[in-house]
Amino acid sequence: MYKIVEKRKLNPTVTLMEIEAPEIARKAEPGQFIILRVDEDGERIPLTVADFDREKGTVTIIFQIVGASTITLGELNVGEYVRDFVGPLGVPTKTENLKKVAIVGGGVGCAIAYPIAKKLHSNGCTVHSIIGFRNKELVILEDEFKAVSEKSIIMTDDGSYGKKGVVTVALKELIESGEEYDEVITIGPLIMMKYVAALTKEYGIKTTVSMNTIMIDGTGMCGGCRLTVGGETKFACVDGPDFDGHKVDFDEAIDRSRMYENFEVEKREDSCKLYDLEVR
């Protein structure tokens, strides 16, 4: 059992939790992930590490409520426990020897992008961050990104905050204005990463994407997380989650992410009805 020591709602659907897991906190690095199970019959949910505190022995996760399991997780409070918490899994993001990097985050993906930005910044790397959201209400980690970035740009789809438009618009502007990046690191919805990678390919800028796929064990056992990278099958859980964005077959990955769409909708409807009853 792993204790929840802090909980904060970052926006109406995104919640931050700090969880006591000293062994994992000791080893975790930006870009790695954990898998948790809320309760006895819960599903295994992979979540990227959003932060960690080695001294306090805690790992921070930031999650969006998308299905039955994340609804249950979101209902837990400080002092309560999640049943299982395992990690750190996957390969850490490579942050060494970079002088200037653009970090492009989208939605809840910004939660994962942030520790990488922070680490780069502490390494003395120049960080430009572009973070995109659907609207003002959904903006998260604005101050955090500002604190670790030389330039930080917020984009919203509807223009209700920051600049109006998608993240690639801002990234293109920066590149066109003469900014030269060693690397672009992008984390967010698959479709966003696909377009970011397509843009940077035109300019020949190395681009790392973080693939958040369907998986069960997270140790290379199920193969559910497989994707095609440069024509080869890779497992996101052990070979990634970071991959060369110019080599990932995004169309296949997007397609595979929809495997259980119908199941998720059913579950969400089931839970939401229950949820409604409880709140009433």
Binding site: R44, A68, F85, P88, M221, G223, L227, R258
Partner: protein
């Protein structure tokens, strides 16, 4: 009175038509009368060839004699001296190529149903005895075991019985390894595995779940920081193989590992389960081993109307246990033998809609001694399915190797060990089971765990005498 019947007492089974719709155990087990009657078929012969056929060398005739005397608890204690998981082995061992193959009764007629008797005795014990296991006197030495599967649990059990302070580290949220994620409920109920594991806990074995060794702690840290004096690696062969044919990444294509883990460990077969699994109408399972049979029969129980086993050799070469093949056939699994997939076909939404295969014929024997399958020309055909499960084998997980300096492995990933002791190239580190051999059987893994436990004990005792 000896029972000279040429046939074994038949195992009571659920009717095929009933069982293919549920996940309850297929074989319901001998009654006391049947067990005693079967035990009387044993000639209690002098040279006891059956024991040589058992990888953990259970005193088979001795326990069978106790069954005749209806002293079932004593029979259990005799088995338990050699096996840490009797209720499991009685169910999943390939007895036909082990103890029962050597049984003299098999020269004329069927051998003694040793596996069925073992299962009966273990089940009887768990049902009727509630004895406290006597905790062995601690000897003050700490051993770590990585992986709570058959090899690791056996090694842990044997060491605990000798007084070692044993901690088993398991990556998943539940102990049992392949016994809980791979072998389905209808063949090996989770409650049976749970009882065996509880027995180990009573012996003093500590099991830490959610611990991925190599990630959260390295083997070196187990020695340096945690004070373990020896480490046993029993991490199995968890990495699924694919065929590398077009269409393998379509929606509806599973590795058997993923499919079975969803169904067994995550209980996706239960109504209201939180982990999804596709409930396909028509399923092709590629492969001919026990895992393929398990996947096919699970798919049937999830509601599939047609389930095919697609296997490139002929029936004689099917690596699965005979009983599993028979049970699968009785349940209506369709065997497409001498058939090999070449492509998986997609519908407009990138879900599986069929599997394109070619017919094969058997040529000259290959290095494995089995006749090599050769493609028949112009024999392509399509089986309409909406799901494909790849059960063509697994390799050892590379995680430990990648994170442990000085641990030598074969090119294909198997950890290199000294035979009989399981000693690896790294000091005080032992290994056994599928992590060493590649995918094999539960009992062979247990045998390796047992050998390693003896070697670890010897090493630690020797080290401390000096």
């Amino acid at each position: 009175m000896r029972n000279m019947s040429l046939k074994k007492n038949e195992m009571p089974l659920q009717e095929p038509n009933a069982r293919k719709k549920n996940f309850l155990e297929v074989a319901t087990g001998y009654t006391e009368e049947q067990a005693v009657d079967e035990a009387k078929r044993c000639l209690d012969c002098k040279h006891k060839p059956c024991i040589d056929g058992c990888p953990v060398r259970i005193e088979i005739p001795e326990f069978i004699q106790k069954v005749i005397d209806k002293d079932f608890e004593e029979a259990y204690q005799i088995i338990a001296k050699s096996s840490s998981l009797p209720a499991v082995c009685g169910r999943v061992c390939p007895q036909e190529i082990q103890c029962e193959q050597k049984c003299v009764r098999g020269f004329k007629g069927e051998p003694v149903g040793i596996g069925r008797l073992e299962r009966f005795v273990a089940d009887w014990h768990f049902k009727n005895m509630d004895t406290e296991v006597e905790k062995p006197k601690p000897n003050g030495h700490k051993v770590a075991v990585i992986g709570a599967g058959p090899a690791g649990l056996t090694c842990a059990g044997d060491l605990a019985k000798k007084g070692y302070d044993v901690t088993v580290f398991e990556a998943l949220h539940e102990a049992g390894g392949v016994l809980v994620y791979g072998i389905p409920e209808f063949r090996l109920p989770i409650s049976v595995v749970q009882k065996e594991i509880d027995t180990l806990r009573d012996l003093g074995v500590k099991i830490e779940t959610n611990m991925v060794i190599g990630k959260v702690l390295s083997i070196d840290e187990l020695f340096e920081e945690k004070g373990f004096e020896a480490v046993f690696i029993g991490t199995g062969a968890g990495l699924p193989r694919f065929m590398n044919i077009p269409g393998e990444n379509l929606k509806g294509v599973y590795s058997a590992n993923e499919f079975l883990t969803r169904v067994n460990l995550m209980k996706a077969y239960e109504k209201g389960a939180k982990t999804p699994v596709q409930r396909a109408k028509s399923v092709a399972v590629v492969g001919g081993g026990n895992v393929a049979m398990d996947a096919a029969r699970s798919a049937l129980r999830l509601g599939a109307e047609k389930v095919y086993i697609v296997y490139r050799r002929s029936e004689a070469e099917l690596p699965a246990r005979l009983e599993e093949v028979e049970h699968a056939k009785e349940e209506g699994i369709i065997f497409k033998l001498l058939t090999n997939p070449v492509e998986i076909l997609a519908d407009e939404n990138k879900f599986v809609k069929g599997i394109k295969c070619v017919e094969m014929e058997l040529g000259e024997p290959d290095s494995s001694g089995r006749r090599r399958p050769i493609v028949k020309e112009n024999s392509e055909f399509v089986i309409d399915v909406d799901s494909v499960i790849m059960a063509i084998g697994t390799s050892p997980n590379p995680l430990i190797k990648a994170t442990t300096k000085g641990l030598e492995t074969e090119n294909w990933g198997g950890i290199i060990v000294e035979e009989k002791t399981g000693k690896t190239s790294k000091e005080h580190v032992y290994a056994g089971g599928d992590a060493v051999t590649g995918a094999a059987t539960v009992i062979l893994a247990m045998g390796a765990g047992k050998d390693a436990a003896a070697a670890i004990d010897e090493e630690i005792q020797k080290r401390n005498k000096k």
